[in-house]
């Protein structure tokens, strides 16, 4: 019974969060750039996120270091995705592509590092050419073309909000159901 109540509360929390996030994204997508209102809206979102994540039980307060984590089949998002705090348990034999700390082996993340390095190089070249070069634009100049429409701004804003909130809420929920998961 209590479990069902907890699940129902979580489901409502998810629905309310999605509605609130969409409302904020729609408002933010309708604000002109380089205006006081744009800075106020963004600052409010960042501050609320920071306060929420820094509260007791929030993602920034979770005790993940020192505890072994499991990442289900190498899937899912930042802040844990399917990462699970399982406590300082006795170490079983590591999987072939995991280090003994449960982190991905270095050789497996090399493609991501190469991609990130290439992006940094291209961004640097773009900035060196003035940022708005027609030959090598920066990433933000490229993305600017998507910003011409309120719908695409709304979608990008939702994506940005979800990039932090979805994994953060998942990690917090996992930790709250695991003894010793909170600081």
């Amino acid at each position: 019974m209590a479990l069902q109540t907890g699940r129902g509360r979580r489901r409502w929390g998810t629905v309310l969060g999605a509605v609130a996030g969409s409302a904020v994204a729609w408002i933010a997508a309708g604000v002109a750039p380089f205006t006081g209102r744009a800075y106020v809206v963004l600052a409010a979102v960042v501050v609320v996120t920071c306060v929420w994540s820094a509260r007791p039980g929030g993602l920034l307060r979770l005790r993940l270091s020192g505890a072994r984590t499991e990442q289900g089949s190498g899937r899912d998002g930042p802040g844990g995705g399917r990462e699970r705090v399982v406590g300082p348990a006795p170490e079983p034999a590591p999987e072939p592509d995991r280090t003994s700390e449960g982190r991905p082996a270095t050789r497996d993340v090399v493609p991501w590092l190469v991609l990130a390095a290439a992006a940094v190089v291209l961004e640097t070249v773009g900035l060196a050419l003035g940022g708005r070069s027609a030959t090598v634009p920066t990433l933000s100049t490229t993305v600017d073309h998507l910003m011409a429409f309120r719908g695409s701004r709304f979608a990008l804003f939702l994506l940005w909000l979800g990039a932090w909130w979805v994994p953060a809420v998942r990690a917090e929920r996992r930790a709250s159901s695991t003894p010793g998961g909170l600081r």
Partner: protein, 70 residues
């Protein structure tokens, strides 16, 4: 032009590798697992938050729409 093509190629390469990670015979850590490894420590999580906030401010308050604001 070449820069835009390169950005698109990077995006395609990332998506392809992510799909390979998730569907290949030997499962490899995708982008999520890679970032999750960063977020195990508190400094890593703080760095991720700062990067997230920077991206938001940079994209949504300082963008310049090519054909004027709609």
């Amino acid at each position: 032009m070449i820069g835009t093509v390169l950005w698109c190629l990077f995006l395609a390469a990332g998506l392809t590798w992510e799909v390979t990670c998730r569907t290949g015979r030997r499962r490899r850590p995708g982008l999520g697992a890679t970032v999750a490894a960063l977020s195990v420590s508190l400094p890593g999580r703080i760095c991720l938050f700062v990067v997230w906030a920077f991206v938001g401010v940079h994209l949504f308050t300082r963008y310049t729409v090519p054909n004027g604001w709609v």
